[in-house]
Symmetry: C2
Subunit: 380 residues, 2 copies
């Protein structure tokens, strides 16, 4: 809870929403006849209207990337460490737009919203959305905000995948592409983890084939398991060791199935609290978007060819202890960019935090991130 | 199904069982008043009775380590690749004993057996057993088989932990300790994976607090999830890539939640088939035995001091792509053994198979394993 707002906070923010009445054709072949996009903005659009930055969120993210909704808020937005006056994404220089993607559960059209002109929830009928669908919907949002282009599109993890797609789909409308802790596509192991998470949710008897809202139930157990599993992949083995070691919660073994080790307690807590704030159908959709992401697919499985379309400058960041999307995966992106003769800066940050590092204000990371964004601002 | 038995197979084996009427005090403080141990033997005990080898099984293993129960069997025992005439554990030279550990589900006393003098299943009332409890029960089995000692105790993964405990607890009765793909104790990440597996089982409504057998139900979904998750940790990312890549089962994306990728299909199959052959309460017990294993605990957290008690020669093997118990963890064991001035041979096998490599007849692995065991046999 911020008793007073720090000068480097964007402060109190007001969530906004736009209704889109133009049908959106999705990759799955279905069409969303109309939809809403929830978003927030931080900073001011300049007179030239050329300082707009788009933030793309990851699996469990949303439009609330920075600031507080009220002085009673316990926590700021999910990327408050990087967004604010004087921060890496400096809101005294940039006009920052952050949205909840389609299929999300924080105000944009998604499984937990009602179908148009209906009293029924979308639930499992919400179509499978892809990274490209999101980019298309973000492009429409850009137009509605009367912006010609983004001076930068920025995202970590699944967010970084949206950035890559932006650079390929709309090369003229993205000047800088910041791809953080991402991969050019998921590995079989990544897909496998997602599949276990989906099975956990879908096999929960309270899932009701996705119609749980109508049944006034929530697949708590499944969503909790999915989140616990996710957390293991977000943290490095070392980070877990540093954080919990093998510390016993009660100082001794229970010789039962209650919590023995701190790490168990942490995971259960993370799982439980996630259930209160996230929708299970959205979780399923997000994991599918991850699995399906593969921009090289329609370019003969050649990422170089795919990236040849891009004209943005790239800034790629990876973290040494990230085993979900390891530095090796970021280097694949960098190599393809170089082969496609694109301008790219690559930084591998020494960090113990695993995949989660992209959300942590690690000094070296924040320094290079800030420097890059300063250079972006200086060209405006 | 073996149409004819290969000359390097132990052939048709007959499962055996022994009843133990002497109460066994467990680490948890409870006592098993009486219990059964299911076991198998391969090869012949020599006249000097000094060629006996004990095989310790891992999480989902059992007494059936080699050979077939009948000519209709589709698969041999779980370590048939290493046990047989002329194989690494050469049954023409060794008398091999393999058992189902207490708490198991293949004939030894465990949750799926009845309590003594009762019609009730043990179920969740079966006490938490530890690696040391197992070693103590294996020691009693040794005595009942009228053996003075083992010329070698051998195990992979959780089996390797039993080997270490044997060397510490009964230094005079184990001449060679073969510790394969193990760790001196679980990491926080290892514990975290086990905890998610346990939560999957325990949160399944069909678990009925462990009393599912009496309810004529099985926590299928939970056990399936636990196994799917286990499988991810048994395979390396590379092994998964080699095995499945991102191959689509139907050649195209489904844009639904059916199986898209081969790896999903594989995991679901592994999960489903495991449910048919394994007991959920046993799975819980095995994961707790793993979590609790830490032989250094009562030696002031000093593994060197713990291992100073040992007099066996050690043979430690790890596999490069094993990320469950990485080579680094095996090197911790080796370093402690060297610091304790023990004789130790260490081999790090180049292998793509992940943790599962210890069950795979990789030529280099089988060569060094065979050589070591030949040297053991030659001293008899």
């Amino acid at each position: 809870m911020p008793e007073t707002l720090s000068p480097d906070s964007v402060g109190i923010v007001i969530p906004q929403s736009l209704h889109f009445a133009d049908p959106l054709l999705l990759e799955c072949g279905k069409t969303l006849a109309q939809y809403d996009i929830a978003y927030e903005t931080y900073g001011k659009l300049n007179a030239a209207r050329n300082n707009a930055v788009l933030i793309c969120h990851a699996l469990s993210g949303d439009q609330h990337a920075a600031g507080y909704y009220s002085m009673d808020d316990k926590k700021p937005g999910w990327w408050d460490s990087a967004i604010g006056p004087g921060k890496a994404i400096d809101t005294s220089r940039f006009f920052v737009v952050s949205l909840n993607n389609l299929g999300g559960c924080k105000g944009s059209s998604g499984p937990n919203t009602k179908k148009p002109d209906s009293d029924k929830y979308w639930g499992p009928d919400f179509p499978i959305v892809t990274v490209r669908d999101w980019v298309n919907s973000q492009h429409r949002l850009m137009q509605r905000l009367e912006l010609d282009s983004w001076c930068a599109v920025i995202g970590g993890s699944l967010g970084g995948m949206q950035v890559m797609q932006w650079a390929i789909e709309y090369p003229e409308q993205i000047k800088h592409a910041l791809v953080i802790a991402a991969a050019p596509k998921l590995s079989a192991q990544n897909i496998a983890f997602n599949e276990v998470a989906r099975q956990a949710i879908q096999s929960d008897p309270d899932f009701h084939d996705g119609h749980y809202l109508e049944q006034h139930s929530i697949p708590r157990r499944g969503l909790m398991l999915a989140r616990m599993l996710g957390h293991i992949t977000y943290l490095s083995d070392n980070a877990m060791r540093e954080k919990f070691g093998r510390e016993l919660r009660e100082g001794k073994l229970s010789f039962g199935f209650d919590v023995d080790f701190q790490v168990e307690s942490y995971l259960r807590y993370q799982g439980r609290s996630f259930v209160e704030r996230f929708d299970a159908n959205t979780y399923l959709l997000m994991t599918k978007a991850l699995d399906y992401f593969d921009p090289a697919r329609e370019y003969n499985d050649n990422l170089v060819t795919a990236l040849e379309r891009a004209s943005a400058r790239f800034f790629v960041v990876s973290f040494t202890s990230d085993w979900r999307f390891s530095p090796e995966r970021s280097r694949e992106i960098v190599k393809a960019l170089l082969a496609a003769r694109k301008q790219v800066s690559y930084v591998e940050i020494e960090a113990e935090h695993g995949h989660d590092a992209f959300l942590v204000p690690i000094p070296h990371y924040m320094n290079v991130f800030s420097s890059y964004m300063k250079s972006v601002a200086d060209t405006l």
